[in-house]
């Protein structure tokens, strides 16, 4: 039964109302921004810390090491110098002692060889000899002859020694054995210190021996010690092996007092030791055993002297070290801070620039997409237009009324075109609604279909075979729809640019593992050379000459990274290229 058509169209099913509320400006979640800024701050803090520690370590360690090395070198040098001084003094003094005693011995030996036993026993002759000796050699206080029985046969000197017998005395035995004797110092004539030298001479007539003995004063020795020019912290003297002072020390003590230090060891016969006095004061002790005598030359040096200089030097070094360290630390802190600040600024600038570029890129692609939609819709609209125009023509221009079938066909064509337009506007709405970034479940299959449809015309035009393989049961992934669109749009654009007319593009999805889905986009186009493949994701790298800004792939790379995924490329020149994007099913932050 024919209906009576209403004068106005009946139902407008899908007219959607836009309320002012839905037009409000969207607010970006600020929490994410703060979190990102916090992480960034920590990263620069860490960088600053590393820089400071490393630079400080590198600059301070050698300084400190050198300072300590210097410190010990100085100490060693000072100590060595000190011991060297002492050592020299000791050896010089020993030589002097040796020479002195040798000289005195030689004098006696000369006398004893030059004069006969009888002459020597003659008191008067001995007296004359004695005067000659005194004049030539000085230091002799007395002289006397002692026979092999120990009797004093003659004597010239201040003591009263006539008739004395020395047979039981140790020195007599020593002379008998050794042929020479040097005695310890004793207080003698005029209460001044003296010592005795005795030499033995073989008597050819009786076959025994006799001894010429002389007393010598210590004036020469004293004058030697005076000449030593010692500082107040040093002292030098002779001691005997029992530790009794044989000369007067320059600074403390007197002749025949006990030595303030313990007797040094006889082996080695001369050495420099670091030891202490009987009171515990640390000293440097130089000693030398004087041969063929009971004497030991001793020089004491208190380290304080040098110590004072050393302490001054020490404090100088310390101050220098401290100032240098402070200076270096200040410079390190300042330079590290300014360096990290510069880096942060540069990073910020770069991020801003990259962001700006990414945005420009995005807007440009969106603009092109929108313009593409407007263009696509032209044809179906034109078809509707022409067909309704034709209908009008058929109804008015033609003489006979048009066939029913014809009119129905036209109406049908119009409806088909309306559907086609509907699909296009539906896609437009889809893109438009998703310009707000949000993490939502994304089905990759439908997403790729949608992105492919944008290139549908191009695929037809250029007879490029496109194949989309989506396995059953592929889960949705948690991601940002808008950004994923951008990624695949970009890769597909590249693929279309690379293939020749009649080429093919394959898109295969697969579940690589529990949390990864891989999207492989392969084309059989021009391919990428081995050399270029390394830089393919770098910004400003382009093989398209003037047409490519070179930014698409670098931004794509950045987006994929941001989404927690990976992108890589394999290609062979003239064979084709495959881009593989791996995305996590669940986002892990």
């Amino acid at each position: 039964m024919p209906r009576e058509p209403a004068p106005k169209p009946r139902v407008f099913a899908e007219r959607e109302k836009m309320s002012p509320a839905s037009l409000k400006i969207p607010i970006v979640p600020s929490g994410r921004e703060k979190e990102a800024r916090g992480k960034l701050y920590a990263r620069y803090r860490q960088l600053w810390l590393y820089s400071v520690c490393f630079t400080a370590f590198v600059s301070l360690t050698p300084l400190v090491i050198m300072t300590f090395v210097n410190f010990y070198q100085y100490k060693k040098a000072l100590t060595e110098e000190m011991t060297h001084q002492v050592s020299r003094m000791t050896s010089i003094s020993r030589r002097f002692m040796d020479d002195f005693l040798r000289e005195q011995r030689a004098a006696l030996t000369f006398v004893v060889k030059h004069q006969s036993y009888e002459e020597l026993c003659d008191q008067q002759k001995l007296g004359r000899t004695f005067l000659d000796m005194k004049e030539s050699f000085g230091g002799f206080v007395d002289v006397g002859v002692i026979d092999s029985d120990g009797n004093q046969r003659s004597y010239v000197g201040p003591y009263d020694l006539q008739g004395k017998n020395y047979r039981d005395q140790e020195w007599f035995n020593e002379v008998g054995i050794r042929g020479v004797h040097v005695s310890d110092v004793f207080m003698g004539h005029r209460n001044l210190p003296h010592f005795v030298i005795a030499v033995r001479q073989h008597e050819p007539l009786s076959g025994s021996f006799y001894i010429l003995r002389a007393t010598i004063d210590t004036k020469v020795l004293d004058s030697y010690f005076d000449s030593l020019d010692l500082t107040s912290s040093s002292d030098a003297f002779l001691i005997n092996q029992e530790g009794v002072l044989q000369t007067r020390p320059i600074h403390h003590g007197n002749v025949l007092d006990p030595c303030p230090v313990s007797t040094p060891p006889s082996s080695p016969p001369t050495d420099v030791l670091e030891t202490t006095t009987h009171e515990g004061t640390p000293i440097i002790l130089g000693y030398a055993y004087v041969e063929q005598s009971p004497f030991i030359f001793v020089v004491l040096k208190r380290p304080e002297d040098v110590m004072k200089n050393w302490l001054l030097l020490q404090s100088d070094i310390l101050w220098l070290l401290v100032t240098s360290v402070v200076l270096i630390v200040v410079v390190v802190l300042w330079s590290s801070t300014s360096l990290v600040n510069r880096i942060r600024e540069a990073d910020r600038h770069r991020d801003k620039t990259l962001h700006s570029i990414a945005y420009t890129n995005k807007m440009a692609s969106i603009g092109r997409m929108a313009a593409g939609v407007a263009h696509e819709i032209n044809n179906p609209l034109a078809i509707i237009n022409e067909n309704t125009g034709l209908m009008k023509d058929l109804l008015s221009l033609d003489d006979e009324p048009p066939k029913k079938e014809r009119l129905l066909h036209i109406a049908d064509t119009v409806l088909k075109s309306v559907n086609r337009c509907g699909n296009i506007t539906h896609r437009l709405l889809g893109f438009a609604k998703r310009m707000d970034p949000a993490i939502e479940p994304v089905a990759l299959g439908p997403l790729l279909e949608e992105v492919l449809s944008l290139h549908g015309k191009q695929a037809d035009y250029r007879r490029v075979a496109v194949n989309l393989d989506v396995p059953e049961g592929l889960p949705t992934i948690e991601s940002d729809l808008g950004q994923l669109q951008q990624v695949f749009l970009n890769i597909l654009s590249n693929a279309f640019a690379a293939v020749d007319d009649g080429g093919r593009i394959d898109i295969a999805l697969s579940r690589e593992d529990e949390n990864t889905i891989a999207v492989a986009i392969s084309d059989d186009g021009i391919g990428i050379s081995e050399r270029d493949i390394e830089s393919i994701f770098e910004p400003f790298f382009s093989t398209k000459g003037d047409y490519g800004t070179g930014l698409g792939l670098s931004i794509t790379y950045g987006i994929v990274q941001n989404l927690g995924g990976q992108i890589d490329v394999q290609s062979k020149v003239a064979e084709g290229t495959t881009f593989t994007v791996r995305l996590p099913v669940k986002r892990r932050n």
């Binding site: 237009n385 125009g389 023509d393």
Partner: protein
């Protein structure tokens, strides 16, 4: 007067044939083809007074096709049909020798006007 022979070239079948029919209903001799190869073939086989062609087409660029047609028939006026995205191409086409251009969806009256204008010029030029 002999009716003007018009060749319509557009990849959209529904559009091309409908336009041709509408022109035929108005007394012209209009023919439609949907690809460039066919267009070149027809232009070679028969004589046409004007060619109406879509600037954006598969296989071969509309302007390219115009150039090829002009090579064979330098005096044959060409009217370009363009959509919103291809106005730049249309302007270029004008510089390269197209007689007129028109935006889709087409107003049939305007199309007829442009067809008459372009062929009138041609007629005037004939000795």
């Amino acid at each position: 007067m002999k009716p003007l022979r018009i060749l319509i070239v557009d990849d959209e079948e529904d559009l091309a044939f409908t336009m041709a029919e509408r022109l035929t209903l108005r007394g012209y001799r209009a023919e439609a083809v949907t690809c460039a190869t066919d267009a070149l073939q027809r232009v070679g086989e028969d004589e046409f007074d004007v060619v109406v062609l879509d600037v954006k087409m598969p296989g071969i660029d509309g302007l390219h096709l115009m150039a090829e047609i002009k090579q064979q028939h330098p005096d044959l006026p060409v009217i370009l049909l363009t959509g919103h995205g291809s106005t730049a191409d249309a302007e270029r086409g004008m510089r390269e020798g197209a007689a007129e251009y028109l935006m889709k969806p087409i107003d049939i009256e305007k199309l007829i006007e442009k067809i008459e204008n372009s062929t009138a010029l041609k007629k005037d030029e004939k000795p």
